[in-house]
């Protein structure tokens, strides 16, 4: 038994995905708090995920969903390392401002 697609076409989902990605990019470029930069990165990753899943539905193959799950795992890892860095920075009483953190040496 097969299922036809109800509701909007895939291109509508792709529009939402593009808008999400642009919103996340705006947050990464605009905000200076590293916490909100990480949150905006999550939005960008989710925009890419939505596009992957929309194309997966369009092609009728599950590979895009596999890719999306892998992206989720990578995002979780990125959050672990990013939050660890932010906590380490705050424990050393560095300014939590991505414009002022311009030295790699800890």
């Amino acid at each position: 038994m097969t299922v036809a697609m109800l509701g909007p076409e895939v291109s509508w989902y792709l529009g939402v995905a593009a808008f999400l990605f642009a919103t996340g990019a705006l947050g990464v470029l605009l905000r200076r708090s590293p916490l909100i930069v990480l949150l905006s990165l999550e939005i960008m990753l989710n925009g890419a995920n939505l596009a992957l899943i929309a194309f997966s539905r369009h092609q009728g193959r599950g590979d895009g969903q596999i890719f999306a799950i892998s992206v989720m795992a990578v995002a979780a890892s990125e959050v672990v390392v990013g939050l660890g860095l932010i906590v380490a920075m705050s424990r050393r009483r560095m300014a939590l401002d991505v414009d002022r953190l311009n030295v790699l040496r800890g």
Binding site: A4, G60, V81, V87, L96
Partner: protein, 185 residues
């Protein structure tokens, strides 16, 4: 009737998704931003359900809205969430350039998708009944994409080790925190 209902759900989910995405970027308090991101992830899960990706939607709610966002909220609570308005400080040309770059990115993505795939996006393939079910995803993961599965586990292990190492360094570094403060301009 079913078609209309799906459209209504899609419109609600899509606007909730876009609105909460903008809210994440524009709230000055990181705590509110994180709460808005939870709403964003929830409405994205609804869109995934409409695209017949049931397992990914469930994983999204469990992993993202559950685990990752709780970790975010803990860290924000720990740091005391300094307010940081999106337009405060910094030269204004930087902000304008950021908005311009993001707008250019949006236009580029839409133009490229429209040029490359515009005509072929209208007719979706019909899918089997179990498309996107845990069984289908598991079969794909353990047959065609076994390497991706194993690499994912290694990535997660490396991230866990990295988190522990960073935490240990932070504890040692806290003692000479006042010395580090002078090094950062």
């Amino acid at each position: 009737m079913g078609n209309f209902l799906v459209w209504v759900v899609w419109v609600f989910a899509a606007f909730a998704c876009l609105g909460s995405g903008i809210a994440v970027v524009s709230f000055s308090n990181p705590f509110y931003s994180a709460l808005a991101l939870i709403g964003n992830l929830g409405s994205l899960a609804v869109l995934y359900l409409l695209l017949a990706a049931e397992f990914v939607a469930a994983a999204q709610v469990l992993v993202y809205a559950g685990a990752v966002m709780v970790m975010f909220l803990f860290v924000i609570a720990y740091l005391g969430g300094e307010a940081d308005a999106p337009w405060a400080g910094g030269p204004t040309w930087q902000s304008f350039a950021a908005v311009f770059a993001a707008g250019a990115l949006l236009v580029e993505i839409i133009v490229v998708i429209g040029l490359k795939a515009g005509g072929r996006l209208s007719h979706e393939a019909s899918i089997p009944d179990n498309f996107g079910s845990p069984a289908a995803i598991g079969t794909l993961f353990l047959t065609d994409h076994l390497l991706a599965f194993e690499v994912t586990s290694i990535v997660l292990l490396v991230a866990a080790v990295g988190g522990v190492v960073l935490g240990a360094h932070a504890r040692r570094g806290a003692e000479w925190g006042s010395a580090a403060r002078e090094e950062v301009p």
